[in-house]
Symmetry: C2
Subunit: 184 residues, 2 copies
């Protein structure tokens, strides 16, 4: 089902007089296309309400024992969709600025490009020794967490055959997992 | 009550045999000091579980009709605690990289420094015409949303006497509020 078809279905059912609940995993406004569905409602004159959810970008690290912020470690974090969308004209992730910031990076859909991404970040200024975690099946009984460093993570992930989807966390907060990951 | 006292209370009650629930607004691992409380438990041998929540950094923009990501607009966002903590040795927010990134910026505790922050971002490369929203009492019946641009927001906020705390959103996604803000 394409996004256009989903938008159309929501609007059609609403205009037919039904109360429509569009339930999503995660947060509808964090890479959830909730904005597109809301805009379709606006154009059709359908009133709506958006209920925020718990995004995997933050919850998956938390369950792996990694707070995205921690006093004395980082005051900011960035969340990036690292699956480049070729339909996005002229737009791309600015790895230069992501490399230089001091904060935590949370990458979604990054496993396929882990080699290129880690090389790019190192080339642009992140230390190769920066701790990295690759979390697969986050929060599930089957959860697997690979910890490594920026310079070794691509090879380590390939060796352990980590398959997408996974959440990648880059930054010194990953080091807290040694203490917080055991019981979380 | 200081953070140390809170940590001590959690641990004391747990060691006394009680089941302790530490309830927080927002997400405990997003500027919530949850990591510090969890570390205190680890040190005391107290088992714990962390339950992620809905952070104001994402929910407040959502209720104001602003998705932090939107296809064709941005593939990333950063969340920053803009209240500089002088106790953090040598650390500060890297405004250079935040200015250069293409994505959405969500600033918490930024109202007091809005003039300095907006000037810094413009000086380092963000367009002065970038849309900005300042959301006070987010999600509450008393919610107030000021929309402006990076070059004018500090003066506008001062004129309207916006007082902290507020959530500041910077980026083209703010423009979606014109369509999504009416019913959300």
């Amino acid at each position: 089902m394409t996004q256009d078809q989903i938008n159309g279905l929501i609007v059609d059912r609403a205009l037919a007089g039904h109360r429509v609940v569009r339930l999503k995993g995660g947060d509808p406004f964090v890479f959830g296309r909730g904005g597109e569905e809301a805009l379709a409602c606006v154009r059709a004159g359908v009133p709506f309400e958006v209920v925020p959810g718990v995004t995997s970008a933050l919850a998956v690290p938390a369950y792996a024992g990694i707070p995205v912020t921690h006093r004395g470690v980082t005051q900011d974090f960035a969340v990036v969709s690292a699956h480049l969308d070729p339909s996005m004209p002229g737009a791309s992730v600015d790895w230069e600025s992501l490399a230089k910031g001091p904060g935590t990076l949370v990458l979604l859909m990054a496993v396929a490009h882990l080699e290129a991404i880690s090389s790019e970040l190192i080339k642009r200024g992140r230390a190769g020794t920066t701790p990295v975690a690759v979390i697969r099946d986050g929060t599930m009984p089957t959860q697997q967490v690979l910890t490594s460093t920026l310079e070794h993570v691509a090879a380590d992930a390939a060796r352990q055959e980590v398959r997408p989807p996974a959440v990648v966390v880059i930054g010194d907060v990953v080091g807290l997992r040694d203490q917080l990951g055991g019981t979380a």
